[in-house]
């Protein structure tokens, strides 16, 4: 965490700067287990090179412990990759690839509370690692869609079987995707927006 001094800090490239007319930003969270493709998905749709924000957290069970200048570290650094899409000259969309473990979620103020919605990225070889994430989102009332990142050697289930296994209601979109492809990742985000829009029409959820 050594600070480099203001002259050496690289900022956004000129072509990556937002216009002064940018009034507000919204965010979408892409959540899933380790290695499921969150970072790849962020990178494939982002208009800027993905960036990383960090936060430090104390490990569970460790009390207040000042490690300043000491060799033993009690803090864990948690990193989150994110990307950006300029929607209009006024509106910007950010995508955050977030670790699936809930204990990380509090580190960033309002990460899920303020998000328009979430994409739960799943790997059918390890479907159960996404169970807890979905439950947490349901408890918090965060609307989400399920995107199955299709790894070549992963089992393929019919959507109906997957819906039953994941215990998702009929209206929750489930789709296959290849997160390496921009068009595929973009379609997942569009599906999420359509889903949020349908919720806005029916007013059935918060």
């Amino acid at each position: 965490m050594d600070f480099k001094g203001s002259e050496t800090i690289p900022g956004p490239r000129t072509e990556d700067q937002l216009p002064h007319t940018a009034e507000a930003a919204a965010k979408i969270v892409i959540v899933g287990g380790f290695g499921v493709g969150k970072t790849t998905m962020v990178g494939s749709v982002s208009e800027i090179k993905p960036l990383t924000t960090e936060e430090t957290m104390t490990q569970a069970g460790v009390g207040v412990d000042d490690n300043f200048g000491s060799a033993s570290k009690t803090a864990t650094t948690v990193a989150m990759d994110f990307g950006r899409i300029k929607i209009t000259e006024q509106l910007v969309l950010y995508l955050f690839g977030t670790p699936g473990q809930e204990r990380f979620w509090f580190l960033w103020n309002g990460l899920f509370e303020g998000a328009l919605g979430a994409v739960v990225l799943v790997d059918t070889r390890r479907l159960e690692v996404s169970f807890d994430v979905m439950g947490r989102l349901e408890e918090r009332g965060v609307p989400f869609v399920v995107a199955v990142n299709t790894f070549p050697d992963a089992p393929r289930y019919p959507v109906a079987d997957l819906r039953t296994a994941l215990d998702l209601s009929e209206d929750v979109p489930i789709m296959d995707c290849d997160v390496r492809r921009r068009a595929s990742s973009r379609d997942v985000l569009i599906t999420l927006m359509r889903f949020l829009h349908s919720l806005a029409m029916t007013g059935s959820r918060t």
Binding site: A24, E54, E55, T56, I87, E113, E139
Partner: protein, 135 residues
């Protein structure tokens, strides 16, 4: 082959723990560093990862710390708190503390994020959909 089975959960009556309390947890490992960077003052501005920050002044005042000067330079054009954290290689919490002082000193302005509401804004969602379709 049958996939493993999950059980749906319901929205909880009790609100989840407030992020603010946990932010304090996040600060604990390195209190002196925070003190050095941000000063000892208490409350932080309510900044989201995607609150857009814009500089209000062109040149940093003489009293500005190197971190503040760097922040000002970065947000000559609007930039989110998350991006400031990334470019400065400083934890999100440290950046929000720095920005709290700078907002109070009117060196920067904050543009509030669009957050999810009980009744979503359909025109906003339509705008995002159209924007994504252009990708």
């Amino acid at each position: 082959m049958t996939p493993p089975q999950r059980q749906r959960r319901s929205p909880q009556e009790d609100p989840p723990p407030q992020p603010a309390q946990d932010k304090k947890e996040a600060e604990r490992p390195n209190p002196e560093r925070l003190y050095v960077v941000a000063g000892a003052d208490g409350n932080r501005a309510d900044l989201d990862l995607v609150t857009l920050i814009v500089a209000s002044v062109e040149d940093p005042p003489h009293s500005a710390t190197p971190e503040q000067a760097a922040l000002l330079r970065l947000c000559a054009a609007p930039l989110s708190v998350a991006e400031l954290s990334a470019y400065l290689s400083l934890p999100f919490g440290v950046v929000t503390v720095l920005l709290t002082d700078m907002l109070a000193a009117e060196l920067v302005q904050a543009r509030a994020p669009i957050v999810r509401k009980a009744l979503p804004d359909r025109s906003l969602l339509e705008a995002v959909m159209h924007g994504l379709q252009r990708l």
